[in-house]
């Protein structure tokens, strides 16, 4: 299981990279109140996702400069060494076997906890069965996310030059799709040293576990239905999540939707925790994973954030930047508005956005003419509300 081991190493690197970003707040807001205080575990999970996003984005930028995947991996490894010290100092209380063992040992197990744990194990076992007895079989993972990753890894049938017939993969008609998963999987294969059918699928387990922890922990912190000997909100949320009939297929299928849902979920949670720069960063992660994120996730989140703004009665957008003093004698510092914080996070995707604009990449292979105009608005709204792949709109709004 070297693939799993390397995935864990990659996750650790991502956590180190992300940890230094998670605490950054260009809004310079006052300390959050106790009900807004983000959970430590949630913060670690957000750090992993941010790290994966930055790691692949850096790989993309350095690839454009002509570096190979192994050279880029070396650069990232060197980068993580000083950051690792910072991350370990920042979170030193959270290390050791205590962290791993304390949760299940200290937990006062209720029947509903046991049921949730059993279904979690059932899902993981069923995925393991799929890994061991089925090939990479769904069409999109084969065509978009698997083949392109393998071409990137081997550097055969792949070119960053627009004139090449192999521009962004030999099957040139699918060049429009973003590169988060192909780059992640190509990096994983580089670390493993060879390619096999597990590489384009095993990341599903990582995103599944992240989703489970995010959902459970967030439902727990936002709910008052705990410690009464009853199924908690976390248990019910997790059981509802496990009841998604196609979830085990997504985990082991190699599609991009699970990674996408992780970024979207994390972005919503960051916004709820008033970590708006992080919310923007993770929203950019959505767009970096699937093109749906570029239009539909952005729209969903905009609506959700306006709802948050109205409900809290706080100023959201204007002024974008202002000079403030926390006390009369302190230095003047610059603070971003909430909107500016989100935008600042989102703008980290600028290299990819410029690249896709320059090479006129479309939102979907069969919709090259799709662009913004007034007639497209009803189409976007219809897609947002009713298209089966974009059911997340309702989830985001709720």
């Amino acid at each position: 299981m070297i693939e799993l081991a390397m995935l864990l190493v990659m996750t650790l690197m991502a956590w180190i990279l992300g940890s230094s970003v998670v605490s950054f707040d260009p809004g310079g807001r006052d300390a959050p109140t106790s009900d807004q205080q983000p959970d430590t575990l949630v913060n670690h999970l957000l750090a992993i996702l941010v790290g994966l996003y930055l790691q692949t984005l850096l790989t993309f930028c350095l690839s454009l400069c002509g570096l190979s995947l192994s050279q880029i991996l070396a650069v990232i490894s060197v980068l993580t060494i000083p950051l690792a010290w910072h991350a370990f100092v920042l979170h030193r209380h959270a290390f050791g076997f205590g962290l791993l063992l304390s949760y299940p040992m200290k937990w006062r197990w209720k029947i509903s906890d046991v049921i949730v744990a059993l279904f979690f194990i059932e899902t993981v076992c069923f995925c393991a069965w799929q890994f061991s007895s089925m090939p990479l079989y769904f069409e999109d993972p084969l065509f978009h996310w698997g083949t392109r990753a393998r071409e990137l890894y081997s550097d055969v049938n792949w070119s960053w030059e627009a004139q090449s017939p192999h521009f962004l993969g030999n099957t040139s008609w699918n060049r429009h799709y973003p590169l988060f998963l192909p780059l992640l999987r190509a990096q994983l294969a580089t670390m493993v040293g060879s390619w096999n059918d597990l590489i384009p699928r095993i990341d599903g387990l990582l995103f599944f576990v992240i989703n489970v922890l995010l959902i459970g922990q967030t439902a727990r912190s936002f709910s008052s239905l705990t410690n009464r000997g009853l199924p908690s909100a976390a248990n019910i949320s997790l059981m509802a999540y496990f009841s998604c009939l196609i979830l085990p297929w997504h985990i082991a299928g190699g599609n991009a939707d699970l990674a996408y849902s992780s970024f979207l979920l994390a972005s919503v949670i960051a916004a709820l925790n008033s970590q708006l720069f992080l919310a923007g960063l993770l929203l950019a992660g959505c767009a970096w994973t699937k093109n749906d994120g570029l239009v539909l996730a952005t729209l969903s989140m905009s609506i959700a954030m306006i709802a948050i703004m109205i409900s809290t009665g706080s100023s959201f957008a204007w002024p974008l930047i202002q000079k403030t003093k926390t006390t009369p004698n302190s230095r003047t510092c610059i603070r971003c508005s909430k909107l500016a914080s989100v935008l600042l996070g989102g703008l980290t995707l600028l290299p990819w956005l410029i690249f896709r604009q320059r090479h006129q990449l479309a939102l979907a292979p069969d919709r090259e003419g799709l662009h913004w105009h007034f007639d497209s608005l009803p189409q976007v709204i219809s897609e947002l509300l009713w298209n089966p792949t974009h059911g997340f709109f309702w989830v985001t709004l709720v």
């Binding site: 059932e122 999109d140 393998r150 071409e151 248990n235 019910i236 009939l245 599609n255 939707d257 089966p388």
Partner: protein
């Protein structure tokens, strides 16, 4: 792959006559009121992921009054007698005028009928496993599924609440009843799903594999990967179907691909070609190498 076509037209008899259907039976059915029953003979079924699809096509008049397919969707058909809910297609304006289920390989017309659903059929539809096929894993969302459940399902909810938490309702706060009921309902739902998974694992143990139609393409591509020498330039027959082409492109991704067959040393095809030698053959697919004297592909 097997497929069936259900043509749905607007309720205009003159218009429907323009649509070529063999043995089409005229009907006046509003899709939003009925469910579809299909009795699929066992001999026509395929295992699991490769079950045939019912292709639903909504046909409307174009600017010149000619019938044109405007919307379509797929549902997976299960062996034996089964019912299918089409009521969620509420944006398919109009009714069903003529329909036919036709099995193209055996020229069999499959028995179908429409009827308003009974209560037990409503429950069956609600517990039915989700459609899953090789193409569209990401085309099914839970909110749509839940919103698409009939009023009978929603009507059951207060009953379930009452039954499950009768004791709790008198002794604990109201939210205890709700959480306990939700937990029980979700546990039943997940148990059902777990049983489906067990069933699949048993099927896998009983049969060689679950995908007799597409598995050979994967097996061939894996074998081809071991046969190709390093840096061998390859291509594939432009007429090769997508189901064979996609695994080949994935498994041979580390070998230089040439869109121009004349530039390739090897190619994947289903045909015999003069000037080429077959180096690998598996279940109808061939890996051929160019003979030294041959010039260009046929």
């Amino acid at each position: 792959m097997l497929s069936y076509v259900l043509l749905v037209t607007n309720p205009n008899p003159a218009f429907a006559q323009q649509i070529p259907l063999i043995d089409a039976r005229p009907q006046h059915i509003i899709l939003q009121d009925v469910i579809l029953h299909i009795d699929l003979p066992t001999k026509l079924t395929r295992p699991w992921l490769e079950q045939p699809f019912l292709q639903l096509i909504w046909i409307a008049a174009d600017a010149h009054g000619q019938p044109q397919p405007t919307q379509q969707t797929q549902i997976q058909i299960h062996p034996g007698q089964s019912c299918y809910d089409l009521r969620s297609l509420d944006d398919w304006n109009g009714g069903l005028l003529a329909y036919q289920l036709f099995h193209p390989e055996t020229a069999t017309i499959v028995q179908t009928r429409f009827s308003p659903p009974t209560f037990s059929e409503e429950l069956t539809l609600g517990l039915k496993p989700r459609d899953l096929n090789l193409k569209r894993i990401n085309h099914a969302s839970e909110p749509q599924y839940l919103l698409g459940l009939s009023w009978q399902w929603w009507a059951c909810l207060p009953g379930i609440l009452l039954l499950v938490t009768m004791r709790g309702m008198f002794q604990k706060p109201w939210n205890s009843s709700i959480t306990a009921s939700l937990m029980l309902a979700l546990t039943i739902w997940n148990l059902r799903q777990g049983l489906d998974h067990l069933g699949l694992i048993q099927q896998q143990a009983a049969a060689d594999h679950l995908m007799p139609l597409t598995q050979p393409y994967h097996d061939f591509s894996r074998l081809a990967e071991t046969h190709l020498p390093a840096n061998a330039r390859w291509s594939h027959d432009p007429k090769l179907n997508l189901q064979a082409r996609t695994p080949a492109r994935y498994h041979l991704a580390e070998y230089p691909f040439s869109a121009d067959i004349d530039q390739a040393d090897y190619w994947v095809t289903t045909r015999d070609n003069p000037g080429f030698q077959t180096v690998l053959q598996h279940d109808g697919l061939k890996l051929q190498v160019r003979s030294p004297v041959s010039k260009g592909a046929p």
